[in-house]
Amino acid sequence: MPADLPSGGALTREDVAHLAGLARIDLTAAELDHLAPQLAVILESVAKVAEVAHGDVPATSHPLPLSNVFRSDDVRPGLTAEEALANAPEVEQQRFSVPRILGADE
């Protein structure tokens, strides 16, 4: 059973805050206030899928049955470094400059 969300059940303001953290979006207090009930309503309507989704029904992850779609191991030119960096907010030493990473393990 879901233990990760603070409420462990119906979607509360704290749950939404937790999810926003996972999704890396800073929600304002006002947004948290009005999002939680909106999401709860949506979730109620969509929860009805559980009514018909029984164990013996297989899930469909790909609408059309394709398999073994491969490419051969050939090299083709891609973007130049200039093209790759053209839209970068900041560039240094031909690399994408990003703010300090709090980071886990390297």
């Binding site: 990760d4 937790h18 953290g21 996972l22 890396r24 992850s61 790909h62 394709l66 398999s67 073994n68 779609v69 491969f70 490419r71 051969s72 191991d73 050939d74 090299v75 083709r76 891609g78 973007l79 130049t80 470094a81 790759a84 960096l85 240094e92 030493q93 031909q94 690399r95 994408f96 400059s97 990003v98 703010p99 300090r100 990473i101 709090l102 980071g103 886990a104 393990d105 390297e106």
Partner: protein
């Protein structure tokens, strides 16, 4: 960072039974990346080997590299795994600047190969390591952390990201818990990774150069109260960048965890970072909330269903297993079991093989790698394969000895020169003037001088005590600064002093 309290290794093993887990990531040596046609060559200018797909640009889509799949299947077969009849890729969702899509295309509950095993020999014993899974994923970009000490994340002001490496095919090999190693745990861990390296080399799927990152290892360790006790809490140690580090890190964690437990504490389940310079592990950043990867099947890639014919075709391409290869080489080289074990244990099998291939005699190849070069590698704290001396050069040095142009002692100076990057063995001999003097006249003159300076020894030789020639030989060698063939000198002395 201060080191944690440690229990002695013996104490730790007296009280606890170690359980290991090893996760090895292998970068494949395919020409192109996993999901796009960008080149994979190491060391290119930053961001010069990227395209919309591996840069994660909006709208780009992945297409799977068939050779990477073949390599994954071959690795699975070489590890005696079952190959999945059908499997899919999955998205592992988390945010990190070196991941262009902020999800990694990987495999979750459907690895391409699973439930295998491999056998690792350590001294007299053989350990059977169970393999949990082999799966495919893509590598991330590389970050340079600017402004902090030692280029690490802590204290960095910002980071610079290069995506050349993003999208290179990665195979992850995960063992099941490794039990029953007892005190040999660190050595078994190292031997397993060494063995895996050899296996992957023989398959030709990767360069497996730990120093270049094409082979990476995370070492998991935990302690339990006895061989039948339930598993303890394990830690995962990253930044284990060499075979040596595998052994040292495992050993350290055993000692550290033992101290914690003996003290009445509990081992924290965490990821730790190995520091090769100080020989300790430190905790990684503690996360307030465990990452929820929200895995789901990758909709942009079709499922893979390798048919039996293809798998069997790949099975037929497997090289002989390491055990059989070793037996064959041992017979060819005329080595004893002990010799062979020494070579394998030193991780020098491929190097010795290549040196022999370049013309050196087996005994000579073994000698140089296991004595002189092993000593130097140890001094510098690197693996044999990382020394700037290669099998070709070792063979060249031996060839110089074989043709009498230098001797063993002079060869050591040649190795000094090779390690210092002074050029080829030939060039170093010339530059440093290491050539053995073979001019008979010069040698004869030096012998005469030695005889004159050591009348006592000379008399003894004349009297038939050939052994006394040693002092005379020594005198000549000293004058020649070692640049003479001692055997030739001895012959000359005996000839001159014979009745």
């Amino acid at each position: 960072m201060t080191a944690a309290t440690l229990l002695s290794y013996d104490d730790a093993l007296a009280r606890f039974d170690p359980v290991l887990g090893l996760e090895v990531h292998v970068e494949l040596n395919t020409a192109s990346k996993m999901f796009c046609a960008c080149p994979t060559t190491f060391g290119a200018a930053p961001n010069s080997q990227v395209c919309p797909v591996c840069l994660g640009l909006p709208g780009a889509l992945p297409v799977l590299n068939e050779r990477a799949v073949a390599a994954a299947i071959r690795i699975g077969l070489a590890l005696n795994c079952s190959i999945a009849a059908e499997c899919r890729f999955a998205r592992k969702n988390y945010f990190y600047p070196d991941m262009p899509k902020n999800f990694q295309t990987s495999q979750y509950d459907e690895p391409i190969a699973y439930d295998g095993w491999t056998e690792v020999a350590v001294d007299e014993a053989a350990y059977r390591i169970e393999i949990e899974r082999v799966h495919m994923e893509e590598d991330t970009g590389k970050s340079l952390h600017v402004g902090g000490a030692t280029g690490r994340i802590h204290g960095a002001s910002h980071s610079l990201v290069d995506y050349n490496r993003a999208g290179i095919p990665l195979i992850e090999i995960v063992t099941k818990p490794i039990i029953g190693t007892g005190a040999a745990a660190p050595v078994v861990a190292r031997a397993y990774v060494t063995h895996l390296r050899e296996l992957l080399l023989s398959l030709g799927v990767s360069d497996v150069r730990m120093e270049q990152g094409s082979l990476r290892c995370d070492a998991n360790a935990s302690l339990r109260l006895g061989q039948d006790a339930p598993f303890g809490t394990r830690t995962e140690t990253k930044n284990v960048n060499s075979l040596r580090s595998v052994e040292r890190a495992v050993r350290y964690e055993i000692c550290r965890q033992a101290a914690v437990l003996t003290d009445g504490g509990t081992v924290t389940q965490e990821t730790r970072h190995w520091h090769e310079d100080t020989g300790i592990t430190t905790p990684g950043r503690s996360k307030e909330q465990a990452e929820d990867y929200r895995y789901f099947p990758e909709p942009d890639l079709a499922p893979i269903a390798p048919d039996v014919a293809w798998v069997e075709q790949l099975r037929a391409t497997l090289p002989e297993g390491p055990g059989r290869r070793r037996s064959r080489l041992q017979a060819a080289w005329g080595f004893s079991d002990l010799d062979m074990r020494d070579v394998v244990g030193a991780g020098a099998l491929a190097l010795v093989e290549q040196t022999i291939g370049a013309g050196a005699a087996p005994a000579a190849a073994k000698k140089w790698w296991l004595t002189e070069l092993a000593r130097r590698a140890n001094e510098q704290g690197v693996e044999l394969a990382e020394l700037p001396v290669g099998p070709e050069q070792v063979a060249q040095v031996q060839a110089l000895i074989d043709t009498g142009r230098i001797n063993d002692k002079l060869a050591r100076s040649v190795f000094d020169g090779l390690l210092a990057g002074e050029g080829t063995p030939e060039e170093i001999v010339a530059a440093r003037g290491l050539e053995v003097v073979s001019d008979e006249t010069a040698l004869g003159a030096a012998v005469d001088r030695a005889i004159e300076a050591n009348p006592g020894a000379a008399d003894k030789v004349r009297a038939g005590k050939a052994a006394a020639a040693g002092a005379l030989i020594g005198a000549v060698m000293a004058e020649m600064r070692g640049q003479a063939d001692a055997g030739r000198v001895r012959d000359l002395i005996l000839a001159k002093l014979s009745p």
